[in-house]
Chain length 154, copies 2
């Protein structure tokens, strides 16, 4: 699995949505501002997350983004899977004529590590992360999350 | 942890060294040829691995690289740790003013996944990978490994 700004924004963005009061939508521009992200880039990520069934958008003046299912039913593994089209930590370049259908021993070892990581991240729900972020937020650890709550008037 | 060509070459390079008959050194240029890698890039990786105490170099005409400890005492986790200066799958960009000393809940969750992956890869020794590669090699799965054995005259 390769972690990039894309994964990072997807996770942080979903935390922002999960932290909103029930039923309140968040505009992409407010989210982008809070996360210090480029709006056009964040919009693409939100599109990927919508396609994966994690967020839904409502258009119009009172529109914005919200989670499409409860935060307690979304795990970190779901998020990475949505961004990657399935988690994989070892992107075998295949330049050494390894067989794609029959993974070599190196790839097999990393597939095992993948499964172990996926299991671990599959145990962590978005609701738990947000609860922990809020608890840590008292020490000023998560200004980005607070910012979306202020912007949404929560 | 970010996987790159650097990690990939480090793992494949060490497999080549582990596959050599006892005491036989492998020249960097032969390894680079077998792995389809640029010699200057591979040389830098070998330097990192030497610094981490995984390989040692002998200069001169009969020189080359060899493992500095038995392949049964080197794990995939050791290799990634050597390349990364310690494994970490979630490189928090820190652009959101998260505290470095006190990881946020997102980072903490990924640190847990890191530990799980490291544990898994720490169980896989280089000698096991090479034995598995050789078993798979009968189906033509690892031409790069065979190439280093031919070049070394093994």
């Amino acid at each position: 699995m390769r972690f990039s700004e894309c994964h990072d924004l997807a996770i942080h963005g979903l935390c922002c949505l999960a932290a909103q009061p029930k039923g309140r939508l968040l505009a992409a521009k407010d989210m982008a501002k809070a996360l210090g992200a480029k709006l056009s880039y964040l919009a693409k990520i939100l599109q990927i997350l919508a396609h994966a069934g994690l967020v839904e958008a409502k258009r119009g003046k009172a529109g914005g983004y919200g989670l499409s299912r409860p935060a307690s039913e979304i795990t970190l593994s779901d998020i990475l899977g949505a961004v990657n089209g399935g988690p994989r930590i070892y992107p075998c370049p295949g330049t050494r004529r390894c067989s794609k259908s029959k993974p070599c021993a190196i790839r097999a070892a990393f597939d095992g590590a993948d499964r172990s990581m996926t299991r671990e991240l599959g145990r962590v729900t978005l609701s738990r992360v947000v609860a922990d972020l809020r608890a840590g937020g008292k020490t000023g650890n998560t200004p980005w999350l607070q910012a979306t709550l202020v912007q949404a008037g929560a």
